[in-house]
Amino acid sequence: MILSSYFLDKLQQLLNTTAFPNLELGNTIMIIIGLIFVYLAIAKDYEPLLLVPIGFGIVVGNIPAVAGMPLSVYDEGSVMQYLYFGVSKGVYPPLIFLGIGAMTDFSTMLSNPKLILLGAAAQIGVFGTFAGAIALGFSPNEAGAIGIIGGADGPTAIFLSAKLAPELLGAIAVAAYSYMALVPVIQPPIMKLLTTKKERLIRMKTSRQVSTRERILFPIIAFLVCTLLAPGAIVLIGMLFFGNLLKECTVTERLAVTARTGMIDIVTILLGFCVGASTSAPYFLNYNSILIFGLGALAFSVATAGGLLFAKLMNLFLTEKINPLIGAAGVSAVPDAARVVQMVGQKEDPQNFLLMHAMAPNVAGVIGSAIAAGVLWSQLVK
């Protein structure tokens, strides 16, 4: 009798050491969402380098906590918190920008500079969403962080929300990366809706060769222009062009190689995993997150439309017309948005190679949203 109650007692105690007693519906939902991310990454090849770490991170972050054990990214002194440090202090995004700079080739942009404007126009997605978020009652800081989802640039979104609205970081980061992964789904309908078949058939001239010297000078000039006008963007823009200088200057090849391989890989693994793990259900599953996802979808659509329509506007003044499809690549989401342009263009004309031209607004979009982030940060930080 006593023995059996002893065993029941023990069993109860044992059960309490497992995660089941604290497992709530929210955690289960989030775990399933995480698994869907992993599935999409593997089966559909949607941004796998980011969705696999984030997806698995979501699963890890939603195994319920044990009382008194520092396990989650929010627990003082936990390992996850130390790794999350690079997210919460905004250290990882600039390091990723360093690697992106060291792998980005700005040649096509240099050979056709007017396409840079498309990368500027797409930032309407950022500021439109910002205004929308304000209208929905978010505080200006929160609205700024939400708006940057429209930049379609994960590291920039994480950086700005770490600075302006840390409590929304998880939702913003996941929204940004989700929609970046979904670019091949979101953009094509908008692109078809806003362009005529004739426009989609426009072929563009191959662009001129860009010399080594130009490619060396560009990161320096671009850095000075961008940061003198928007000094808030200095960390992201600085690292981006620093990485690009390492790549282009011909004498620091080994540094550029490490920046775009080992270094960015390590940071990508940790950033993705930590961002995922920060989406613990109690912090994540709330009304704000739903609004953020809604605004995020709006942001991507507006940004796409902005780029497209501005391209059409430019065509009114240009003799040598540009294919408005490449305006859609202005949203960043490098290189997926450019690939989507190529895909949609080729559907109309299999011999039309737009990818190379689309890379120009694509990388300009990265610069544009970093500047947008800098402006928002400098205006909103107190």
Binding site: M109, L110, P113, K114, I116, L117, G119, A120, Q123, I124, V126, F127, G128, F130, A131, I134, A135, L136, G137, P140, S211, T212, R213, E214, L217, F218, I221, A222, V225, C226, L229, A230, T250, V251, E253, R254, V257, L291, A364, I367, G368, I371, A372, V375, L376, Q379, L380
Partner: protein, 147 residues
Amino acid sequence: MLLSLQTAVVPLFTINTEALFEETGLPLAIMGMFVVFSALLILIFCVSMLPRAMVLLDKFMPATPHHGAAKPKPKPKKKEAKAAKAVADVGGVSEEIAVVIAAAVAQVMDQPHRIVRTRQLTAAELAWTLQGRIRHHASHKLKPQGR
């Protein structure tokens, strides 16, 4: 101002137009777009000027091959010379491998084949500050035994 169908129903979301017209609302959004466009317009201007600047630069400071790339290498010897020719711009692959690959190519193909994407292999291989020395040693020193 509420977007509600009925007063009794809790609205899905509320539109707050007041906040929108405060300093940190639409004015900031417009200002932001303005700054982004200004910065990128200036960038376009600078980039458009680049080719002309290059013409000037080439006139006053002609592009010489960079030290790192152009350091004259010791002349390859007799028979291997032809193989080495094909490898001339390999960049930094350890010479032995380059010779081997080039030789294999020379055997198999009729026209010279340029190996263009091998640079990465060496970046990891060449020691940082000591690279010059290693390259030198490779030709002068007997191989250390027992390694």
